[in-house]
Amino acid sequence: MIGGGGCDASAWVGRWPFRVPGAQTVPALERLLAAHGLSGAVAAPLDAVLCPDPMLYNEPFLAAVRRRASGFRWLPAAVVDPTLGGFAEAARRCLALGARCFKVLPNYHLYPVVERGLSRAEALGVPWVKEAARGGLDGLDQLCRLAAGEGVPVSVQIRLQDERAQHPLMRVPPVPAAEVAELAARHPDCRFVVSGAYHAELAALGRSENIWVEISFVESEDTLAGAAAHVSWNRLLLGTHAPFFYPAVALAKVEAAGVGEDERRAVARGNAEGLWGPG
C-alpha cells in the first residue's frame, strides 16, 4: 500500500462492448480503488466514448460524483468531442457541474491533433469525416485555450486498448505520441495528461514541459525507473486504467524496488496534487 493514499490519474466508469464488464458505477469504482489503498481518482465516463453525444453520459456521471460524500477524492473528467456542434458550451457546462479535467480521444472521435493528420481522416473515404476532422482539429485548439484559461488539464487518451486485442471490425489506431507533443508545443499554457502511452512512446513525450504521463500502459523490465529515463519524475503519474486493468498492477509499478521514497510519493500522489491541488 502507498502511504497516505495514492491518486489514480486515469480510470473509467461504465461499460465497454468488447470485454468482460468491470466496475460500472461511481461507487463500484471507488470501492475497487479504495480497496487498493487509493484515496482519489481522475475518472471519466466510459460509455461517453462511443456515444454520439458524450454529454448524455457526462452529466449523469458528474451528478453521481457530486452525490458521493465518502471522503474519496473524485476528480471527474468530462469526455469532450470537439467535432460536435456546441462542444465548447458543453465543456463549459461540464466545468460548472464539477469536471476537473477534459478527456479527449482523437482516434475514436476521428480528428487529428496536428494539421498533417488530416490526411488520415481523408483516407477513410467518408465525406463527413473529412469535414469533422477539420472542425475537430480547430475545436481541439479552442478546447485547449478554454482549459488553459480555466486551469484544468486536458487528458489525451492515446489508446484505450492494445491494438492487437481490438475487435477486427473496430480497429482504432493510436494517436501518434510525437503529434501530441506538437499539440502541447502549440499550447504552452495548457497542461496535458497523456494516457495510454507505451514505454516506447515516452521519448517523444518527455521533452514537453507541459505534458504529464500516466503509466497504466507503460512497462519495461524495471518500469518506473525505465519511464523516468524519458520523462521527468515530476511529470509521471500513477494510473490504473481501471476497470480495464488490475489496479494492483499500477501500484506494483510504483512500489517496485529501486525507486526512492520521494519519487514514489511524487508519482503516486504529489504530481497529481501539483496538477489538481492538494486533496
Partner: protein, 257 residues
C-alpha cells in the same frame, strides 16, 4: 521482503551470442527476488538471435546461451530447449538430446518459425511426450501485427489434440484472452502461462474458473515485461490462497518437476 516461493515460467535474456551476460543475469535475479521469485525458466535469448526464422546455428547459439546461464546459476535458472521445427526431425531430436537429455533442460520452447498445425512439429511433440517434458508454445490472437507462421490458441488446441500424451504450456494468456481460454478448455494436456500484453482485469480469475487453478501458471516475459507488474496480475486477482499458490509456483513445480 516477499518470501521466495514463486517460479516464473517465461523469461528471456537479451544479450546476444552464446555467452550470457553476468550483469543481465544478476539484474534479472535481483528484480525477480524483489517479487518473491526463486526460480525462472529461461526460454532463450531468441529475441536477439535469429529472429522469427532462425537458422540451425542460431538455435544452437540460443541453447548454448541458456545452458551457460543454467550452469552459472543452477539455483536460479532452469532452461528450455529452443527449436525451429523447419530444421527437420534429425536436427531437432539431436538438439533435444543435447540440451534436454544430456544438458538438463526441462522442456522445449517453440515460437513462430513454423505454424502449430504443421506436421513438422509432430516428431518434437512425440519426443517431448516420451521424455516427459512439456512443450511451451507461443500463441496469440492478434488483430494486427500477426507474424506469418504465428499460431493462435485454436492452433495450439489442434496440436494438443494430435498429441494428447504430451503436456503443452500455451504462452500468453494476455494475448489469447478470453477466447484463448475457451479454445483449450476441453484439453487437459494444455496449460496456459499468464504472460502477454496488458493486465486485463478479471482475466486470471476467468482462466482459473474455466480451466482449474492447476492449469494456469505464472509467467512474465521479462525483460519485455516487469516482474513486479506480472506478479501483480496474480496477486491482484480474486483467487483463493490455494489457487494463488498453485499459479505462482505450485503448478510449475508439478509440471516441470
Amino acid at each position: 521482503m516477499i518470501p521466495l516461493a514463486c517460479i516464473d515460467v517465461h523469461v528471456h535474456l537479451r544479450t546476444p551470442g552464446p555467452v550470457p551476460s553476468a550483469e543481465e543475469i544478476s539484474r534479472c535475479r535481483r528484480l525477480a527476488a524483489a517479487q518473491g521469485i526463486e526460480r525462472v525458466h529461461l526460454l532463450g535469448n531468441l529475441i536477439s538471435v535469429g529472429g522469427y526464422e532462425p537458422q540451425p546455428a542460431h538455435v544452437r547459439t540460443v541453447n548454448d546461451n541458456t545452458l551457460a546461464a543454467m550452469a552459472a546459476t543452477p539455483d536460479f535458472i532452469s532452461g528450455l530447449c529452443y527449436l525451429n521445427p523447419a530444421h527437420g526431425a534429425a536436427f531437432c531430436l539431436e538438439e533435444m538430446d543435447r540440451c534436454v537429455v544430456r544438458g538438463g533442460m526441462i522442456g522445449v520452447k517453440l515460437w513462430v518459425a513454423v505454424h502449430a498445425r504443421r506436421p513438422e512439429l509432430d516428431p518434437i511433440l512425440a519426443r517431448a511426450g516420451a521424455l516427459g517434458v512439456p512443450v511451451l508454445h507461443h500463441a496469440w490472437y492478434k488483430t494486427v501485427g500477426h507474424v506469418a507462421q504465428e499460431s493462435d490458441p485454436a492452433d495450439i488446441a489442434a496440436l494438443a489434440a494430435r498429441h494428447p500424451r504430451t503436456r503443452i504450456l500455451m504462452a500468453h494468456l494476455g494475448g489469447g484472452l478470453w477466447r484463448g481460454v475457451r479454445a483449450i478448455v476441453g484439453l487437459p494436456n494444455v496449460m496456459v502461462d499468464t504472460s502477454g500484453a496488458q493486465p486485463e482485469a478479471d482475466l486470471v480469475e476467468y482462466a482459473v474458473r474455466a480451466l482449474g487453478a492447476e492449469r494456469v501458471l505464472y509467467g512474465s516475459d521479462w525483460p519485455l515485461r516487469d516482474f513486479a507488474t506480472q506478479t501483480a496480475r496474480i496477486r491482484g486477482a480474486r483467487l483463493t490462497e490455494r489457487e494463488r499458490d498453485l499459479v505462482l509456483g505450485g503448478n510449475a513445480r508439478r509440471l516441470f518437476g
